[in-house]
């Protein structure tokens, strides 16, 4: 394959945004039928690079050649006409439209919807990705939504398929199915540009990898010949120490949930069904699950944003189901939701104000009904100092911080309150590796001081790193927590529901 002329040649691509060079003189080639990995941390410039190839962003300098011809797509439809298709990281789907309509929107010249429905059925079966064209996308699981995106691309017979972090929403079994599909496509001559930061996947799938760091290409190599450690060093540029977790005895139960069922407040949300678990002091409970299986609802009902029957949730032995977030904070339960901007932090308020919003009660930041600004600023500054939040000062608005820094701030803000129980959802989503390590270490430190910690995450590696016990959410049901030690990725995958819609999920968690 490598001997033939390259399909796509990138040379000297550069793109700068105000204050940051997203891509700096990046060059590499993709051969026909090749599965080429684009590897890098969050913010390394992977997304900007593929947006240039797909015509969403214009490069400042450099050129692209497709099959030897100069290629400068002005908009995505130009790229699609040239045989380039893209599966987005954050799905470009429309919840209230059906599968066929969604597919039609991504095509240049779609056939009438009835013919299209038939073609969707044919193609989806040929590639082992069953899909009903008449269903509303809002009702599909994350894995099925991805199939919609893939099939939308396949119907256009692409020569190059770009996939941006495709496995972050899939169970391990669904990843296997996806890889089989991709290998089949590669055999048929379709080149694939595969973007990821998951080293094992890339080593299993790709024959060549280009590694980006800080917008620059640092290497092009054959990932199968490199160890995961080598790749990680190239990607991060430094060695990372895995978090320490000293062995520790667990204390009494601090948070108990019994038979909790709750209808979601969102029409496309997932209702919780009969959730049971007990969290002991010093324990880290990891909750896995593909996005949209009830994670948001679980966080809301534990933090107090959604009320439940009083005795379903017990904190330190007290029923708290009817207490709101502030009531629970006073008793010692704090939470950090997934969405940093708009949920965990008010975007246009300063860090000091954001510190007050969550810390007012436990840190005594109000005096006679007035805000004690000096004390609040001191609290914000202590969070900034302890968690190494890179910001000019606590007067900066939350929106101005980068994702990783803001995440350190919102998690640190809760940890600084010395809670008895902390609930976090996706604590390191979109955060670079060193910030992620800081956050995980802080959670483990808190647990070793005797707090109960619930980590809800879609990142299995993260959960295996921090969790003492392990459970999975699948369609609003929580499996019985098991000790994390000795669990294999396969077992975890089955706990997460296996491959949705491929075969009946097996019950393993007894």
């Amino acid at each position: 394959m490598t001997a033939s002329a390259p399909l796509l040649q990138l040379s000297g691509l550069t793109k700068a945004y105000p204050g940051v060079v997203a891509n700096d003189d990046v060059s590499f080639n993709i051969g026909p039928g090749q599965i080429h990995a684009l590897l890098g941390e969050n913010g390394a410039g992977k997304s900007t690079l593929v947006k240039m190839v797909y015509g969403l962003v214009k490069p400042d300098a450099g050129e692209m050649r497709l099959r030897g011809q100069a290629f400068a797509p002005g908009q995505p439809s130009d790229a699609r006409k040239s045989g380039i298709a893209m599966v987005f990281q954050h799905f470009s789907l429309f919840d209230a439209l059906d599968v066929a309509e969604n597919v039609a929107l991504g095509m240049e010249n779609p056939p009438p919807l009835r013919d299209l429905a038939k073609r969707i059925r044919d193609v989806s079966e040929a590639y082992g990705l069953p899909l009903d064209p008449t269903r509303l996308v809002g009702e599909l699981s994350a894995g099925e939504r991805q199939r919609v995106e893939i099939i939308r691309c396949l119907l256009q017979d692409p020569k190059l398929l770009i996939m941006d972090e495709p496995t972050s929403v899939l169970t391990p079994q669904e990843v296997d199915i996806l890889f089989r599909t991709l290998r089949k496509l590669s055999d048929e001559g379709t080149a694939i540009l595969y973007i990821s930061h998951k080293l094992d996947e890339i080593r299993a799938l790709c024959s060549e990898a280009t590694i980006l760091r800080g917008g620059k290409k640092v290497a092009t190599c054959d990932p199968r010949e490199k160890s995961a450690r080598d790749l990680a060093e190239l990607m991060v540029g430094q060695l990372l120490t895995p978090p320490e977790r000293p062995a520790r005895p667990f204390g009494d139960v601090v948070l108990q949930v019994d038979g909790l069922s709750l209808a979601s407040n969102n029409p496309f949300g997932t209702s919780l069904k009969d959730i049971n678990f007990a969290l002991r002091a010093g324990e880290v409970l990891g909750i896995a699950g593909v996005a949209g299986n009830g994670q948001d609802e679980l966080l809301l009902v534990l933090s107090g944003e959604l009320a439940s029957p009083s005795d379903r949730v017990c904190l330190l032995g007290k029923p708290v189901g009817q207490l709101g977030p502030n009531g629970r904070r006073e008793l010692g339960l704090v939470a950090a939701p997934e969405e940093r901007l708009g949920h965990a932090a008010a975007p246009d308020m300063s860090l000091t104000e954001n510190a007050y919003l969550s810390g007012a009660h436990r840190k005594g930041l109000a005096k006679n009904g007035f805000i004690d600004w000096d004390k609040t600023r001191g609290f914000a500054e202590s969070v900034i100092a302890r968690f190494d939040v890179r910001t000019p000062g606590p007067h900066v608005v939350a929106r101005a911080l980068s994702g990783g820094n803001l995440q350190k701030f919102v998690i640190g803000r809760e940890i600084e309150q010395n809670p008895a129980v902390i609930i976090v959802n996706q604590p390191t989503w979109g955060v670079d590796a060193s910030a992620a390590a800081t956050i995980r270490q802080a959670l483990l430190d808190l647990a070793s001081q005797g707090a109960g910690v619930v980590v809800i995450s879609q990142d299995l590696d993260e959960l295996l790193e921090v969790a003492d016990s392990f459970a999975a959410l699948n369609e609003g049901r929580l499996t019985t927590p098991r000790p994390a030690k000795g669990l294999t990725v396969d077992e975890i995958g089955l706990m997460m529901g296996g491959a949705h819609g491929m075969h009946v999920a097996e019950e393993v968690a007894q």
Partner: protein, 310 residues
């Protein structure tokens, strides 16, 4: 029977006439909202259409030209809204309210020398033998062309949204503008076109009031019809034929209110005048309860500003 003095055929005919202005304004606003934009300036665009249509018709002596002028005037005012909200990124709610107040003021200014004049007559559409059918002919086939144009627009909008590719793109833009942008569709262009269409429809609706239904120009003559049209879009849960049914229902209430007064029924008219809004509030509560399927039809990006990034 107390309602004995009300003739059903006349009632239906009056109802269709009463419903046409709000139907026109509502079907325009429905398209705008399907594209993800909330334009609260319907009332302003209607009244500007009313006065512009009136002026053009009087000056040219031709009612048809008046209607065209009304559509152009409504579309121009809507273009201002599009400029404010899509290019200058102004808040949609505030801009829409400002548009209503501006339209009311501007129309009063323009119409000063036209108060008390009669506009040229709009001929009834001659449907030949259809109009002679007993009852049906009197009720349905004895109207001016605009009544049928309004119905045709509803059918056209329904077909456009359901079957055409452009309609699919418009719904996609209203449902998730970030995804639509990611696929390479021009969110702002689609929205601007929808806004102008909405303005033209509202202008037509206004001119129907000043040229046919009343027919005269008086200041503030739309008297809340634009707000009823806005309520109607929600009541119809963004579906064209429900908007048609809703317009006739609301139109029916207006006509019934007049007839009941004439028949001497002692119901305070205020109850009937507030009923469209009450029904709309009930529908809104029903939709936001989250369980109703109707909620899925609400455009996902409605009233959310779109900032292109990356």
């Amino acid at each position: 029977m107390i309602l004995g003095s009300i003739q059903p055929a006349v009632l239906i005919a009056a109802l269709m006439v009463a419903a046409t202005p709000i139907l026109l304004a509502a079907i325009g606003e429905l398209v705008v909202e399907k594209a993800g934009v909330l334009n609260l300036g319907v009332e302003g665009m209607m009244i500007l259409g009313a006065v512009a249509g009136f002026i053009v018709a009087v000056q040219t002596g031709n009612a048809t030209l008046g209607f065209i002028g009304a559509a152009v005037a409504g579309g121009l005012l809507a273009l201002l809204f599009a400029l404010l909200t899509q290019v200058l990124m102004a808040n949609q709610v505030a801009s829409g309210l400002a548009l209503t107040l501006f339209g009311l003021g501007l129309s009063a200014l323009l119409g000063q020398s036209y108060v008390g004049i009669s506009p040229p007559r709009t001929p009834k559409l001659d449907l030949g033998p259809l109009s002679d059918i007993p009852f049906v002919g009197r009720a349905f086939f004895s109207h001016d062309a605009l009544v049928y144009v309004a119905i045709a627009i509803v059918i056209g909008v329904w077909w456009f949204l359901k079957y055409s590719r452009a309609g699919l793109i418009l719904r996609a833009v209203g449902e998730n503008h970030d995804a639509a942008h990611g696929l390479g569709y021009h969110v702002k262009r689609v929205r601007a076109l929808a806004i102008v269409f909405g303005g033209a429809c509202a202008g037509l609706g206004g001119a129907y009031l000043s040229l046919i239904r009343v027919p005269q120009w008086t200041e503030g003559m739309t008297a809340g019809a634009g707000w009823i049209a806005l309520a109607l879009v929600v009541f119809a849960s963004w579906r064209p034929f429900r908007a048609l049914a809703g317009a006739y229902l609301f139109g029916g209430i207006v006509v019934l209110q007049l007839n009941l007064q004439a028949a001497g029924v002692k119901i305070p008219v205020e109850y009937l005048s507030m009923s469209p809004y009450l029904i709309t509030i009930i529908v809104l509560v029903f939709i936001s309860s989250g369980k109703a399927r109707g909620s899925l039809n609400a455009p996902g990006s409605l009233n959310r500003p779109f900032h292109a990034s990356g």
